[in-house]
């Protein structure tokens, strides 16, 4: 690779041959304003916002489509550049409606930001604005506002180059040109909502999130998508202790800039449930609330007497929880059969760009922690065959998840003791003898290990309801009752124990995992 030396705003920058000026500047920490340029899409060069002055070139050049070359002297803040940017902004805003207060993009709109930085003048356009299609529904997740569109074609290029589904295109010409679907079609592919993210303005907005929360009120927590074991990096964006949306977080090792639609909206099913806030215990006539001491005591005394026992952990439980769960059940019964819930389904070609064939984001990590004997399916068939006397299920509604739901119901009814630990009174929990109220993926801290063996951090975005307890805490309280007290049952401390005991995790810490995760060898 040939190195190229150039200066950008007087700063000496070294980059590789073939790099564009906008990329070289980004590498040096200098952001050149842009709309149509996107690092993961081909160059369109249509917005003109990234014009820069280059020594010995008579006219300003677009930084996105000019290659950095040896000795080049680039100015991104010269008077000529600033004047050009101001003119480009004025031009882009000619037909743009002045309705920021009611536009859902407000607060994360590049037109607003660049207007403040580079334009800041009243419109001189005295003529009538061009009117366009408003609120046109493109598909299940995307709605289009033609008047707010600046025709940067990021959405068109995403659909041509990333999903290769080609739904959108530019139609008509001149100031009539706009983005459209071929008549009679809809924009419905497994990654469609990403175009809302890459739209720099309010032209494409998310039908689900639209008008829910003003974006400046959102609290953003870096975390991991609980949808499948790809482990896409996300930002959990919440307001008043509820998740308002997921946004992708850039991680080139995992999901690049994207997340799938299924993952993006999966938090509803996991968080929009009626929470249980006290342990329940079965008495004559049904489940009744009880205190933790009674509930935990019953779990230990009955579970240790009703063997053989099986334990099923949710694929959304963390490594730290899996580690303690395995410790607990092995302690209760060395012959206990343990599995993490894992089932596969078929994926389409477009789904395969990001999705994994499961719904268990941490199945691999749970197995690494010892929650696995011979796989989930054999355990399920043994359960259906009545080979267990008791069971401990965490966070997974087996009756609903498994196709043979009715058979599972019959099998569970025959158990002499069933413990269910979950956020809500699921169909499965209704059959339990003891129900322990726990927390969801967005309320806990811990780590997930994705399908490819990348350990990543899950961070709490929400405060759990009073009365529910962290899964980790429940396991450690139970462990204390069987004579194995955990001194400091915090996720970070448990992880250090994992780093001491589990070979492939040796020497790791939360700090070393950081925001983008650590790859362990396969």
């Amino acid at each position: 690779m040939d190195a190229v030396k150039l200066t950008i705003d007087g700063k000496e920058v070294t980059t590789t041959k073939g790099t564009t000026v906008i990329q070289a500047a980004a590498e040096a920490g200098i952001t050149i304003p842009h709309y149509c340029y996107h690092p993961k899409l081909t160059i369109a060069g249509n917005c003109r916002m990234c014009l820069v002055e280059i020594e010995k070139m008579p006219k300003l050049q677009i930084a996105c489509n000019t290659q950095a070359s040896e000795g080049m002297a680039v100015e991104t803040q010269s008077p000529k550049v600033l004047a050009a940017r101001k003119a480009v902004m004025e031009f882009l805003l000619i037909n743009h409606p002045l309705d920021c207060p009611i536009c859902d993009q407000a607060g994360e709109c590049w037109l607003q930001d660049y207007y403040m930085q580079h334009d800041l003048q009243a419109s001189r356009f005295a003529e009538g604005k061009q009117h366009e299609r408003k609120r046109e529904v493109f598909g299940p997740h995307v709605v289009f506002d033609g008047e707010r569109c600046i025709k940067c074609t990021r959405c068109v290029r995403f659909l041509q180059e990333v999903t290769r589904t080609d739904e959108l295109t530019v139609v008509d010409r001149g100031d009539h040109s706009t983005i459209a679907l071929f008549p009679g079609t809809v924009l419905d592919n497994p990654l469609s909502a990403n175009i809302n993210d890459i739209c720099p303005v309010g032209a494409l907005t998310d039908r689900d999130f639209r008008f829910r929360v003003r974006v400046w009120y959102l609290q953003k927590t870096p975390s991991i998508c609980p949808g499948c074991s790809t482990g896409c990096n996300i930002s959990v964006e919440s307001y008043q202790n509820r998740i308002a949306r997921f946004k992708p977080r850039i991680n080139e090792e995992v999901n690049s800039h994207w997340i799938c639609d299924e993952g993006r909206y999966c938090f509803y099913a996991l968080t929009d449930v009626e929470r249980i806030t006290a342990p329940l215990i079965r008495q004559e006539g049904g489940l009744v609330p009880t205190d933790w001491k009674t509930a935990l005591g019953a779990v230990i005394s009955v579970l240790s007497g009703a063997q053989p026992v099986c334990g099923v952990l949710s694929g959304r439980n963390t490594n730290e929880e899996a580690f303690l769960f395995a410790k607990l059940l092995r302690r209760l019964s060395p012959q206990a059969r343990l599995e993490v819930y894992y089932r596969e389904r078929k994926l389409t070609e477009v789904e395969k760009i990001l999705k994994s064939p499961d719904r268990s984001p941490n199945f691999r990590g749970a197995r690494d922690m010892g929650v696995s004997d011979d796989g989930f399916e054999p355990l399920l068939s043994d359960l259906l065959d009545g080979k267990f006397r008791s069971a401990y299920f965490v966070g997974e509604d087996l009756l609903r998840e498994v196709a043979q739901g009715e058979k599972v119901r019959q099998a569970l009814k025959k158990l002499s003791f069933l413990v269910v630990q979950d956020t809500h009174l699921s169909e499965t929990a209704k059959l339990a003898h003891v129900v322990l109220p726990a927390v969801n993926f967005a309320e806990k801290e811990g780590t997930y290990t994705n399908r490819k063996g990348r350990i990543q951090r899950l961070r709490p975005a929400l405060v759990p309801p009073a009365g529910a307890r962290q899964d980790l805490e429940i396991f450690s309280l139970l462990l204390a009752r069987v004579g194995e007290p955990i001194r400091r049952a915090t996720p970070g401390e448990i992880f250090l124990e994992i780093a001491r005991e589990v070979p492939r995790y040796r020497g790791l810490t939360y700090e070393s995992i950081g925001n983008l995760g650590v790859q362990i060898e396969s």
């Binding site: 739904e167 295109t169 139609v171 010409r173 459209a180 679907l181 071929f182 008549p183 009679g184 079609t185």
Partner: protein, 157 residues
């Protein structure tokens, strides 16, 4: 009835595509051929062209809407296309268009009830020295005046 090329058009299609290094480059001449075959480019016709060209219907749609000589609606026997780009506009194209509108009793984009004339405004037809001008089907009419327009409309059958 499914939209499909006649055997004759199929031969011409093969010849057109064979003349370009990349198939997609043949899109414009193929669209002209399709318009000749089907009269206008309906949604079905665009779908058909997309299929035989191996590209998405959205991309073909984009090209069809860009060029004013490609029509997505049925047009009259005589397609009057008045140039509206700058040199013609400066030499009085707007007045000519208004005159034709009044004369035929239709708006731009409409067809006379007898199916004889369709009126369109189009971008530069590369005859800037002789504006205002218009193209009717494949023929140019230049240096237009209201008198000449009356004469041209009378002659067109």
């Amino acid at each position: 009835m499914a939209v499909e090329f006649s055997p004759e058009a199929r031969k011409r299609f093969a010849a057109i595509v064979g003349g370009y290094p990349k198939k997609e480059a043949a899109l414009l001449p193929v669209l002209f051929l399709a318009q000749e075959e089907f009269g206008y480019l309906s949604g079905e016709a665009i779908d058909y062209v997309a299929k035989i060209m191996g590209i998405s219907a959205a991309r073909v749609y984009s090209v069809v809407t860009f060029y004013t000589m490609l029509n997505m609606k049925p047009i009259g026997r005589h397609h009057i296309q008045v140039c509206r780009t700058l040199p013609c506009a400066l030499s009085g194209a707007e007045k000519i268009t208004a005159f034709i509108k009044a004369k035929l009793g239709i708006d731009v984009g409409q067809t006379t009830p007898d199916g004889k004339f369709t009126l369109s405004e189009v971008e530069c037809l590369a005859s800037c020295g002789t504006g205002p001008m218009m193209q009717v089907n494949d023929a140019y009419y230049e240096n237009l005046t209201e008198e000449r327009v009356v004469e041209i409309l009378r002659v067109l059958k």
